[in-house]
Symmetry: C2
Subunit: 306 residues, 2 copies
């Protein structure tokens, strides 16, 4: 069996939803639906969003995870996805990539519905895109990043900085603790928590570029000021870098965290799983206060990408 025929067979094994039409028809057909549909799309480029030596199955997982994280941030239940896959002539890589993608799709119930497979010129960096669709019950608000209000508290759904620390060690050619490498390569989208928080979140997004830059973006979109007063770190991170102000600023600007960033009414008891990191007030811009002291806002707030 040619590499391409094998790939198609593997893709079809992931496309069991009737809407996929067995990947035999150029299109998918979703029946009429009573839900609102949330649509998102993300591209990963070799050498930009992943390292050429990242295991292919982790690249597949991550492509699904970054899209699922966007669905989670809107409280959307995963429905289906379309994959744009670029072959580069390495059938083993493609097979492992699909294994990892398939594990994530199965884990979170995101059905493969269609897409496109193309050949890349020899030597071109790999480029893979996924477009994901989620459902939100009719009438339920779909939180944007623009809804935070003065007096709201800001929360994240997990520690930040692990992925960035793992990537930095890999880039430096050093041995990195498994937990940090996994945070970078195999992020876990917070889909269930997102579904439960979305109905009463004033604003929600995921932290993909760094806590500081994404909190600033939420504040700007909401015409509020935001003060960051806590940077939650994992034990693995603290073990490696300590928890100095510098270590916390590094973690807050690293990106690739894929935790949820949530603005809730300050008088509301937050649900389990959310960690307070700051508050919104009248005004504009970002300020930082840690251990009771004002901290200079770093020049670089996070990953500013193309």
């Amino acid at each position: 069996m040619s590499g391409e025929a094998d790939l198609l067979r593997r893709l079809k094994a992931l496309a069991t939803d009737p809407a996929a039409r067995g990947l035999a028809d150029d299109v998918a057909v979703l029946p009429p639906h009573a839900s609102q549909l949330v649509l998102t799309s993300d591209t990963l480029v070799e050498g930009v969003h992943f390292r050429p030596d990242d295991p292919a199955d982790t690249v597949g997982w991550k492509l699904a995870a970054v899209n699922l994280s966007d669905l989670a941030a809107k409280g959307a239940v995963p429905v289906g996805c379309l994959l744009n896959h670029a072959l580069t002539g390495d059938a083993g890589w493609d097979r492992e990539f699909l294994d990892g993608l398939g594990r994530a799709l199965n884990r979170f119930g995101l059905h493969l519905l269609g897409g496109d497979t193309v050949a890349l010129p020899k030597g071109a960096p790999r480029v893979v895109s996924l477009t994901a669709i989620g459902g939100v019950p009719a009438g339920q608000p779909v939180p944007s990043r623009a809804g935070a209000r003065q007096g709201d508290r800001l929360y994240v759904s997990g520690p930040v900085g692990d992925a960035g620390a793992g990537l930095a060690l890999l880039n430096a050619g050093k041995t990195a603790p498994g937990e940090l490498v996994r945070a970078y390569r195999v992020p876990q989208p917070h889909v269930t928590l997102g579904e439960s928080v979305a109905p009463f979140a004033h604003a929600m997004m995921d932290v993909s570029d760094g806590l500081l830059i994404d909190a600033r973006r939420m504040a700007d979109a909401s015409n509020c000021a935001v003060e960051i007063s806590n940077v939650p770190l994992s034990d693995h991170y603290v073990k490696l870098h300590g928890n100095s102000i510098e270590a916390r600023m590094e973690a807050a600007t690293a990106g690739d965290d894929y935790v949820l960033l949530v603005a809730l009414d300050g008088r509301r008891e937050p649900p389990r799983g959310l960690i307070p990191v700051g508050a919104f007030s009248r005004g504009e811009g970002l300020s930082i206060r840690l251990d009771g002291k004002r901290v200079r806002v770093p020049d670089r707030l996070g990953y500013e990408h193309g």
Copy 2:
């Protein structure tokens, strides 16, 4: 203004539908929908699907057109799309690309809803993807490629071979008639015709890889045999290549036509705009009979791509 900020401004100008949320929210949100949704996605790669010297605005147009052609083949009314755009550091190219894309989106009412913009490593071939969504009224059948029946007639919605002839001349470094180059670079998806034919088509798809290969695919999916008895050519094509059997076989295997391929009940009067090209019968496989004589089926039926 930086090239990227300029690009974002231009993208936002195309994203006027409320579902796009002004491209400010990582996701698009479609309201509950009484229609069936048709989803398709296509990728164009520089050096594979378009020539590096193709004008950027025609690449943008073509990316929209190939996706719209898939919607047309299912009778779907264009709804919206998500763009995966890869920057390569040439702001002028990106601007012209978006101009051409925008012209096609506006012409066919396909709203930009979201997507992703990434940076490619220097020197990498351009890779652009579009995922398009169309609507079909609830209860209306969405023709697949698998529904052709014995006794059905096969039709196309226009002449074939022009795009292939234009591309061949460009590849040979020769001057090509404007009409043939336009057929290759600026294909016109047959959206309105597709909408009108879909409700009673037994099977429908678009001819993207060549009349012979796509007719064969429809026959295989439908468990029928198909005989091709006509290869409609444009005046421009005939002026260049004549209408010998060889010229017609060349046109029938070239691909990039983006005309509709439709199987209709043989007793039905076809609507205006459809040209008969063959018929389905019991059995399997493809045969060709032109000018009353059996023609050997060529080894290469069309473009077989990754």
